[in-house]
Every structure is written in structure tokens, then in C-alpha cells.
Amino acid sequence: MKLKKILAVMLALVMVLSFAACTKTPGNENGSDVDPSNVDGNNSASEIVIGVSGPLTGGAAQYGNAVVNAAQLAVDEINAAGGVNGTNLKLVSADDEADSGEKAVSAYNSLKDQGMQIFLGTVTSGSCLAVIDKTADDNMFQLTPSASADAVIANDNCFQICFTDSNQGARSAQYIAENNLATKVAVIYDSSDAYSTGIYNNFKKGAADKNLEIVAEQSFTKDSNKDFSAQIQACKTAGADLVFLPIYYTEASLILKAAANADYAPKFFGCDGLDGILSVENFDVKLAEGVMLLTPFAADAEDDATKKFVAAYKAKYNNEIPNQFAADAYDGIYILAELIKANNITADMSASDICDILKVEICKEGFSYKGLTGAGSALTWDNTGAVSKDPMAVVIKDGAYAAL
């Protein structure tokens, strides 16, 4: 009997703990609160509800948290200035753990339960692909800050703020070729990830156009993402003087370590997925010295908008320097605010009615937005959902990102 009791207590403990683990969303405790007045789906409050879904925990957590933090910052600024046409915005968020399956769908469903009318998400491509057909069925206006896979914008209700993978891949090849960074290039990519594979395929095409020689093509999967000694050895044996890393920062930090172990010091070049590598707890930033990446945003840029954003973000979030995901999300909220303002969207409209208006208006000739991302040029959209913008290259120097 005694044993049974102990066992029952243990089981209860495990259950409580695993629930605690599920609901923990660091950095954003208030955003995920369910407002009882909004649970019924149609918004009885006088606020327009914008939902964000992204990885708030797990290996890509920095992206999700940056997006939620920056979106909250923008929402607070807009509300403090009297809202949009007098209506306040409200941000709700959900954790999809960058999962490309049921977690992404349930995060989206939980946002709908919280009364979401406009969807600013998702943060990563895999999760986004899992929900695009749901948002299309619901006719929910979707503006993703950072999901860059080309297929994300297949439906007519979804638009991107970041540049697409084909753009990133081709631009990377172009940048490497035009700046004579290397003649022999190796690639290490994640074959189990849509983002990584997408950039890799387009990089390969771009490299062929620019006569860059790819001497080694190495891959890994999410189940074998710890040991990179064989891949690094292959790059070294092939004599590559630049390794292209269209992957996320967690694996990249292991690749940099494996290269250092093998006494191999090529140039490393990555895309927006490498953003965040400097903020990994306890990471030896010396390993990342000289790593170049293509990104739409550099926190040390000198223009007023960037300076103001960086100062406000640092003040609100423990002096943390915002990455490009934060900038994309901050722009995203302001883009939505502009659209809401211009088209007199009100809080009592249904998500579907809002979507019908916004998906037409965002790609009209007259609409453009000049924000933090886009290297100084205004962003415009065409009816494919893709954005027009120019990436910038940054290099990691003395443990910080510096514009090139």
C-alpha cells in the first residue's frame, strides 16, 4: 500500500512538472495570458488582437523571444501614442518550439482561442509550412517576420517581411563571388530542415552562375547534429577556403568548434540563421571571430530609426542587443499598424473580413514601408507575398556584429 502511495505521489509530481515545462515561456509571461473576454473567438474587447507564434523554448528560442519582445515593444509604443485610429493593439503569443508538426498547429489554434485577428507568424520556416494551409482555410491574414522558405507564401493570404531563401542563397553566392572572398567553397547544411535545404539549393544555382566552385557538399540531420568532425574533415581535405553555413546558430557553434579542433581556419559565411550565435550562454565568441553573415539588419547601423529601436529594446529587455528577428518583428507591427490605419480596420471586424482587405491592400502600388530592415530602401510587396529588400553583410568582430 505504502509503495502505491509513493508511486502515486511521484506520478502526480511528474505530471505537474511536465505541465510546468510545457507552459513555461521565458521572457514573455504576460503575452500568453488568456484574456477571458477574448476566449470566445470574436473580439468583444476594443482591441485589435495580433498573434505571434514562434519558438520561445528550445534550440531556436532566441528567435521566438526576440520576435515576441520586439513586437511587444512596438505594440506598447503604438498604444502609448494613442493606438491606431484610437484603437489599441493587443499582442498574444504561443510557443511552437520551431516544430514542423503538431506543436506548430496547436500554437496557432491556441492563438485563435485567444481571439487573434491578424497573425504575425510564424518565426521559423518549418513551423510556418505546417500552418499555412490552416491560415488559408481560416482566411487569416498572415505576415511572417522571418519564415523565409519560398513555399511559405504559396497561399494568397501570407506575406513575408524577411527575404526568401532563394533570395538569400543567390545573394550569398553573389556576395562571395563579387567580393572575391573565395574560389573554392564548401557547404554544410541541415538536410532535415526546409530553411537550410532551401538556401543550399539556391546557393548552388547562384554559385554556378557566378563560377564559384563548390568543392564539398556536406550535410547533417537533426538526429546527428553533434559530431561534425567528418564534415569538417571533408571540407579540409577538399581544400575549401570558405565554408558556407546556411544553418541555425546552435549547430554552427559546434561546427566552429570542430573546425578549431581540426586546426582548419577557412572563412565562414552564413545567413540569418547564424544571427544569435553570440548570445548563446557561455559561448566562446573568439571562435566566431571573422564569421560573415547576410542579414537585413545590423544593430550598430548609424541611422536614427535603428539607434532609437536599439536603445528602446535595450532599455526594456535587460540591455540585450536586438537581432534581425527583433527588427523584422518590430517592422511587422508597424506595417500592420499602417495597414490598419489606412484601411480603417476596427476591433469588431472578424479575422476573415480583415484578411480580405489587407491581402489586397498590402500589394497595391501605393503601399510601402520604410523601416529598420531593407538597408534604407522602402519595403514593397507583390502579389506572390514576397518582399523587395536588400540584404546587408555583417562580420563578427571583437565579439559583436559590425557592418561590412
Binding site: I6, K24, F220, A230, L254, D263, D284
Partner: protein
């Protein structure tokens, strides 16, 4: 040269698998149960080293590893007492499922305590790399230490089992629990000691694994745990030299498979080889032939 480098990398990975596999093999050999939580004890060991060496206490590496070994030993004995001991007479399937439960419990409790963001582990090894053939082959400090430590552990364990009273008691318990008890051996204590040793080894393995692949998160132990279990079966579960041979072979096959066949199929190749070996030698390379009692 490339081949030699890959081979060294494989032996390095394999040595770490071997240390982990020793934990599986000892517990299986003596308690006749598969302790699937072993991989997660590695992760906890990694966190203890991380906390005592870089996060909280800033102790020297060797001391941090010792602290982690003590902590994991206590953890191992506690797990054994709470989760496995009450099931001593239950079916092996019940014990197996409990072990999987303990594994998830440890992963989730680590998630609650340490959070979900991966941290970079500072290597406990400060030995410089060895460069051969004008830098064409580089053996990192982590590699040398992993190989040396795994050899020392295997020799140490073999001597411990052959020469000491406790070791002989372990052998006796693994042969026949009932008879051992009649001879005056405290079976429960012996099994506890086995868990203690297995968990201390897990702490060492955690330090080695995280030094070589310096990302630490709550699922860090899962994959190496499965690979090392495979290694233990490969070498013949229950056999100490078998775990060493199995571990090294698995590591070498994995790295060579990744280097020369396919980076994506490396894991599949490892398990395909395992199936082949088990088809021809069902008890593993050094496994004893067991007569099925009817």
C-alpha cells in the same frame, strides 16, 4: 591523411560511447535490467560539471568532474532505490517501462531547472592538440583524453571485478542472485554499488561528451545513450571489454560512414551493421552463449 583523421575522430567518439556503454553493460550484467535513464544521467552529469566549473563555482575542471561524479552517484543510487528496487520481483517489461519513465522525468526536470536554451559547455580538457605530418592530422586534447580515460576505466573496472570482494560479489550476483544470497552476499547492496559505479561513469562520460561536442541541453543525453546502448549490445551486453570494443566500433563505423558513404545515412549504417552482427552472433561480439532454459 583524410582517412587517418576520420579514423581518429571515430575512435574518439567511440571511446566516449564505450564509457557510456560500460554503464549499460554493468547494470545489465548484474541487475539484468536495461537502465534507459543512463543517457539522461550523462546529461545531468554534464550540467553538474558546467555549474561547478563555469556557471557558479569556477572550480578547476578535475574538481568539477569529481563533484559531478559524486552528485551522479547519489542520483544513481536514489533512482535505483525509488524507481527500480520496488520492482525487483516484477516482470522485466515493467522495469523497462519504469526506466523509460525515469528517463523522461530527468529530461523534464532538467528542462524546468536549467531552462530550454542550450548552453555552451566549456571544455574540461586543457591539453594542447597533437599535430602530426605538418598539421595534416590534428588530434585534439579532448580526443586524447577520451581515449586514455576510456582505456583506464576499462582496465580499472576489470581489475575491480576480478580482484576485490565487492567485484566478486557482483560476479556472483550476476551468475545467480538466489545462490549469492545464500552465500551471504547482500544482493541489494551489490546492486546499489553497481548503480553507483555506473552513474559515476556517466558523469565522466558527460564531461567527455560535452567537452567534445560543447552544446548542453536537456536532451543532450538521449542520442548518445541510444548509440551507447547499441554499442553495449554490439560488443555483447554484460561484457566489459565487449562494451569497449562495441563502443569504438560504433564510433568508427558512424564517422567513416558519414565521411565515405553518406552524411545522412550514417546512423542507418550503424544500425544496419548491428542487425548483421546480431544475425550471425546473437549475443554480440564478446557475448556469452546462453542456454535457453525451458
Amino acid at each position: 591523411m583524410g582517412f587517418l583523421s576520420n579514423l581518429i575522430n571515430g575512435i574518439s567518439l567511440g571511446s566516449i560511447y564505450a564509457v557510456i556503454a560500460l554503464g549499460y553493460t554493468m547494470v545489465y550484467g548484474i541487475a539484468k535490467m536495461l537502465n534507459f535513464a543512463h543517457g539522461d544521467v550523462i546529461m545531468i552529469g554534464g550540467y553538474f560539471v558546467y555549474l561547478s566549473s563555469s556557471k557558479l563555482l569556477h572550480l578547476p575542471p578535475v574538481l568539477s568532474v569529481l563533484i559531478a561524479m559524486v552528485a551522479c552517484t547519489i542520483l544513481g543510487i536514489t533512482i535505483e532505490k525509488i524507481a527500480y528496487k520496488p520492482l525487483r520481483k516484477a516482470t522485466s517489461l515493467a522495469v523497462l517501462i519504469t526506466a523509460i519513465g525515469v528517463s523522461y522525468f530527468l529530461q523534464n526536470i532538467a528542462l524546468v531547472i536549467f531552462g530550454a536554451n542550450p548552453v555552451t559547455f566549456t571544455s574540461v580538457v586543457s591539453i594542447p592538440a597533437i599535430k602530426l605530418f605538418d598539421g595534416q592530422i590534428v588530434i585534439s586534447g579532448e580526443t586524447s583524453v577520451a581515449i586514455v580515460v576510456s582505456i583506464l576505466v576499462v582496465i580499472g573496472l576489470s581489475l575491480f571485478i576480478k580482484k576485490t570482494k565487492t567485484g566478486k560479489a557482483m560476479l556472483a550476483v550476476s551468475e545467480d542472485k538466489g545462490a549469492a544470497q545464500l552465500m551471504g552476499i547482500n544482493v541489494n547492496k551489490t546492486i546499489s554499488i553497481t548503480f553507483a559505479i555506473g552513474s559515476a561513469l556517466a558523469a565522466i562520460a558527460g564531461a567527455l561528451y560535452c567537452s567534445a561536442y560543447p552544446i548542453l541541453q536537456n536532451t543532450t543525453g538521449a542520442m548518445p545513450g541510444i548509440k551507447a546502448f547499441t554499442a553495449a549490445v554490439f560488443g555483447g551486453i554484460g561484457s566489459i571489454p565487449g562494451a569497449m570494443i562495441g563502443g569504438i566500433l560504433i564510433g568508427v563505423i558512424e564517422i567513416l560512414g558519414r565521411a565515405y558513404i553518406s552524411t545522412q545515412l550514417a546512423d542507418a549504417i550503424v544500425f544496419a551493421v548491428l542487425i548483421l552482427i546480431l544475425m550471425f552472433k546473437p549475443t554480440g561480439i564478446l557475448g556469452k552463449k546462453m542456454v535457453e532454459k525451458v
